[in-house]
C-alpha cells in the first residue's frame, strides 16, 4: 500500500540525513520526499511517500516518532486530506499537434510557463491521478524533459476518517 506521511521535525542540520538514513538503514522505500520550512523557521515539514504492508508502515511511523528530532508524524492514510504535486513537462510536439497539446494543457488547467521555437514547458498541479493522466497523454507528443516536486499533503479541516 502506498502511504503519504508527513513528518514535523526540528529544523537542524543533519535531520534530513537522520530521516533518510532511517529509511535506507532499515530497507524502507522512499518514493518521494519533499522538505520545507514551516511558518515557524525552527520547524521543517517533510512529506514522504512510501510503500509497505501494514506492519511495515506501522514500523516506519513508530521509528520516525522515535527519532529525537521528530515532533509529529501523520500518516495521511488515516486522515482525510488534500494532496498536491507539481510537475514541469517540456514537450516538443509536431507542428500539427501543437494546438492539441495546448488544448490538453488547458483541460488539465496547466499553464504554459515557457515556450521556444520547438517546445512548450507546461506546469501542472494536482493530485497523483491527474498528474499521471496528463503525463500519460503527453508521452504521445514527445516529452523532452520532466521534473516533479514530490507530494505535499495537508489534512482537511474537521473531518476524520473512522
Amino acid at each position: 500500500m502506498r502511504h503519504t506521511i508527513s513528518v514535523l521535525v526540528e529544523n537542524k542540520f543533519g535531520v534530513l540525513s537522520r530521516i533518510s538514513g532511517l529509511f535506507s538503514g532499515r530497507g524502507y522505500n522512499i518514493e518521494s520526499l519533499s522538505v520545507g520550512e514551516t511558518i515557524d523557521p525552527q520547524i521543517s515539514i517533510m512529506t514522504i511517500v512510501t510503500t509497505g504492508d501494514d506492519q511495515i508502515i506501522e514500523q516506519i511511523t513508530k521509528q520516525l516518532n522515535k527519532l529525537i528530532d521528530v515532533i509529529k508524524v501523520v500518516d495521511f492514510m488515516e486522515v482525510d486530506h488534500v494532496e498536491r504535486e507539481m510537475v514541469l513537462v517540456k514537450v516538443a510536439p509536431k507542428k500539427e499537434d501543437k494546438t492539441e497539446v495546448l488544448r490538453l494543457a488547458e483541460i488539465f488547467r496547466g499553464r504554459i510557463v515557457d515556450s521556444g521555437p520547438k517546445t512548450f514547458t507546461i506546469e501542472i498541479t494536482g493530485d497523483e491521478k491527474k498528474i499521471e493522466a496528463f503525463v500519460e497523454l503527453m508521452k504521445g507528443y514527445g516529452i523532452k524533459e520532466f521534473v516533479r516536486t514530490g507530494k505535499v499533503a495537508m489534512a482537511r479541516e474537521g473531518v476524520k476518517k473512522a
Binding site: V9, G14, S17, G21, Q59, K62, Q63, K66, I68, I71
Partner: protein, 578 residues
C-alpha cells in the same frame, strides 16, 4: 567569570555526578585533558585503546545503572569508538562519548585527523551532537545525559571541535531541560494494562519471558512478585539474566538458540506469553512463524518500535516495565485470589518439572580433560553466585549464561545484540571501577581475549583485581561448532594455530598468570586467583576443544527443534546441573 569550554565541560560532568571517565588523549582534546589533570572529583582512566574505553564505560553503566563516560580524540580516536558505541546501542546501555573534532573552521576540509564521526555514528547512537558554538555546550551536555539515561537508554555522542573547548564564555547551567520532540512514555495505557491483567488471569499455561528491559527499569522486584503471585514460570533472554533469580523454582533459565529444553518447550506450549522488556530478537524466537504457536502474546516495552517488529502481539503495552507491572499486580491482587490460581497452575508447573527432569542442562564430565562447563560450574561454586560475570562472545558466553546462575540484576554483563568479541575484558574493568568491592570475572575465549588484551595494562596500573578465565580451546569455538555441524567439519580459518602463552602475557604486563590443564587443577587455580586482591589475573584453562554448546536450535528452525549432545559411551558420566 568566563570559563573555557574545557572547564565548562568538566563542570557539567561534575554536576551530572560523573566520577570516572575512560579515555585516550590526542591533539584536539588537549584542553580537556589539561583541565582534567587538576580535577580531584573526577578520575580519568587511561585505557590502551579507544574501543576499550567505550566498552569500559559500557561495563561501568551496566554494573552501576549510571551513565558511563568516555573521551577520545578526533579521527582515528573517534572511529575506534564505533564498535563500542554500536554495542551499547544494541543493548540499550546509557553512555555518553565525547570525541574531539578539528576546529570548526576546518570541518569539511579533510583536515588532519578529521572524521565525520557524527555522520558515522548517526545510525548507532540514540542521538548525537556536533557543538559548533561554545554557548551551546552546557545545554548539550545536559541534554546528552538526559537522553542517554531516560526512555529506552542508549549511547549519545558529542563531537567537540577544538576551538569550542579552547574558547571562553560565561557558564550557565540549564536548570531544566525540555525537549519538545522527546517524551518517552512511562505510564502504560490503562485500558491495555487491564487487558494484559485479564489475559494473565485467564491463562492456564502462561510463561513470562523477561528481557534486559526488566533490569534497565529496575523491575526485578515487581517481576518476582508477579511470577510468585500468579505462579508463572519465567524464562529470560541473554540480556534478562539476573532480572529474575536463576535459582528460583519458577526460573526456566535462558530460552532461544542455546536456551534450555524446558524454557523452549514452555514457550512453544504456552497459551499466554508475557514478554517483558524484550524485543523478540531472532536468537530468541528462531523461526518466527512457528514461535509460541498456541500463545496469545502480551508485550510490555518502553520502546513502541519493539512491539510488532518481529512477532505478532495481541496486547501491546508501551511503558516503563516497572510502572506497568505495578499496575498489573494491583489489578490482579484486587480481582483474583491466590489459592484459586495455585490450583489451576498445578498441572502446568508439573509439566515444567517433567521437562526439567527429561532434559536438564548437562555436560559430560571427563577426568582427563577439562570441560569448559566444569570450569564455569566451579566458578559458580567458589563464588557462591556472588560475582559480577562479564563474558566475551562465542561458546564461552553461552556456557557462562547456562552454567552460572544469576540471582540479581546487573551481575551478568554480556554483549547481547552486537555479539562483540573483545567486550568482556574492558567491560570487567569498567564494572570493577563501578563496584570496587565486588568480585569481577571475565569468562573469555582464547580468540576474544586477544581482541582487547592490551587492557591488561589498564587493569595493572589501576590495581584492579579483575579475573579473566580463558576457556582456551585453541579455536574460534562457536564458529568451529557451526562448521562441524553444518559445514562437514571443514574448519576454515577457525583454528588458532598460534595462541600466545597467556600466562607469560599476563606476567609480561606484571599481572598474575595461572594455568590449569587437568580437571583437578581447576579448583586450585581458581582459589589461587581469588586470593589476588591488587592485580588482574589471567587463568588459562586448557579445555576440550571438541566441546559444543547444547541444546542448539539450528538457524531457521523453530525453538523446539533442538539438537542435543549425542548420547555416547556410558562410561562417561553425564552430570546434571542443579
Amino acid at each position: 567569570m568566563k570559563k573555557s569550554g574545557a572547564e565548562i565541560l568538566v563542570e557539567c560532568l561534575k554536576r551530572e555526578g560523573v566520577k570516572h571517565i575512560f579515555g585516550y588523549p590526542g591533539g584536539v582534546v588537549l584542553n580537556i585533558f589539561d583541565t582534567l589533570y587538576d580535577e580531584k572529583d573526577i578520575k580519568l582512566i587511561l585505557t590502551r585503546h579507544e574501543q576499550g574505553a567505550v566498552h569500559a564505560a559500557d561495563g561501568y553503566a551496566r554494573a552501576s545503572g549510571k551513565v558511563g563516560v568516555a573521551i577520545v580524540t578526533s579521527g582515528p580516536g573517534a572511529t575506534n569508538t564505533v564498535t563500542g558505541i554500536a554495542n551499547a546501542s544494541m543493548d540499550s546501555v546509557p553512555i555518553v562519548v565525547f570525541s574531539g573534532q578539528v576546529p570548526t573552521m576546518l570541518i569539511g576540509n579533510d583536515a588532519f585527523q578529521e572524521a565525520d564521526i557524527v555522520g558515522i555514528t548517526r545510525p548507532c547512537t540514540k542521538y548525537n551532537y556536533l557543538v559548533k558554538d561554545i554557548n551551546d555546550l552546557a545545554k548539550t551536555v545536559r541534554e546528552a545525559f538526559y537522553i542517554a539515561s531516560t526512555g529506552r537508554p542508549g549511547p549519545v555522542l558529542i563531537d567537540l571541535p577544538k576551538d569550542v573547548t579552547a574558547g571562553k564564555t560565561d557558564f550557565i547551567w540549564p536548570q531544566h531541560i525540555q525537549i519538545r520532540s522527546y517524551n518517552p512514555t512511562y505510564e502504560g495505557n490503562k485500558w491495555m494494562i487491564k487487558q494484559a491483567a485479564h489475559e494473565i488471569a485467564r491463562a492456564k499455561k502462561p510463561v513470562i519471558m523477561a528481557g534486559g528491559g526488566v533490569i534497565l527499569s529496575g523491575a526485578s522486584k515487581e517481576l518476582k512478585e508477579l511470577a510468585e503471585f500468579m505462579d508463572i514460570p519465567v524464562t529470560m533472554t541473554l540480556m534478562g539474566l539476573g532480572g529474575f533469580p536463576g535459582t528460583h523454582n519458577l526460573s526456566l533459565g535462558m530460552l532461544g538458540m542455546h536456551g534450555t529444553y524446558y524454557a523452549n518447550m514452555a514457550v512453544q506450549n504456552a497459551d499466554l506469553l508475557i514478554g517483558i522488556g524484550v524485543r523478540f530478537d531472532d536468537r530468541v524466537t528462531g523461526k518466527t512463524a512457528s514461535f509460541a504457536p498456541n500463545a496469545k502474546i502480551v508485550h510490555i516495552d518502553i520502546d513502541p518500535t519493539s512491539i510488532r517488529k518481529n512477532v505478532r502481539v495481541d496486547v501491546p503495552v508501551v511503558g516503563d516495565v516497572k510502572l506497568v507491572l505495578k499496575e498489573i499486580l494491583k489489578i490482579l491482587k484486587e480481582e483474583v485470589g491466590k489459592e484459586q490460581w495455585s490450583a489451576i497452575r498445578k498441572s502446568w508447573l508439573k509439566q515444567m518439572e517433567q521437562w526439567k527432569k527429561e532434559r536438564p542442562l548437562t555436560y559430560r564430565y571427563d577426568e582427563k580433560i577439562i570441560k569448559p562447563e566444569f570450569v564455569i560450574e566451579k566458578i559458580y561454586e567458589l563464588t557462591k553466585g556472588n560475582a559480577i560475570i562479564c563474558t566475551e562472545v562465542g561458546q564461552n558466553q553461552m556456557w557462562a549464561a547456562q552454567f552460572y546462575k544469576y540471582d540479581k540484576p546487573r551481575r551478568f554483563l554480556s554483549s547481547g545484540g552486537l555479539g562483540t568479541m573483545g567486550f568482556g575484558f574492558p567491560a570487567a574493568i569498567g564494572a570493577q571501577f563501578a563496584c570496587p568491592n565486588d568480585l569481577v570475572i571475565d569468562i573469555a575465549g582464547d580468540g576474544s581475549i586477544q581482541m582487547n588484551i592490551q587492557e591488561l595494562a589498564t587493569a595493572v596500573i589501576n590495581k584492579l583485581p579483575v579475573k579473566v578465565a580463558i576457556l582456551n580451546n585453541h579455536y574460534l569455538g562457536m564458529v568451529r561448532q557451526w562448521q562441524e555441524l553444518f559445514f562437514r567439519e571443514r574448519y576454515s580459518h577457525t583454528y588458532l594455530d598460534v595462541v600466545p602463552d597467556f600466562v607469560k602475557v599476563a606476567e609480561a604486563y606484571n599481572a598474575v598468570g595461572l594455568r590449569a590443564t587437568k580437571p583437578e587443577e581447576v579448583e586450585p587455580v581458581l582459589r589461587e586467583a581469588l586470593k589476588v586482591k591488587d592485580k588482574p589475573v589471567f587463568m588459562d584453562f586448557v579445555v576440550d576443544w571438541r566441546e559444543k554448546v547444547y541444546p542448539m536450535v539450528p538457524a531457521g528452525a523453530s525453538i523446539d527443534e533442538m539438537l542435543f549432545e549425542e548420547e555416547k559411551k556410558e562410561e562417561k558420566k553425564v552430570r546434571a546441573v542443579k
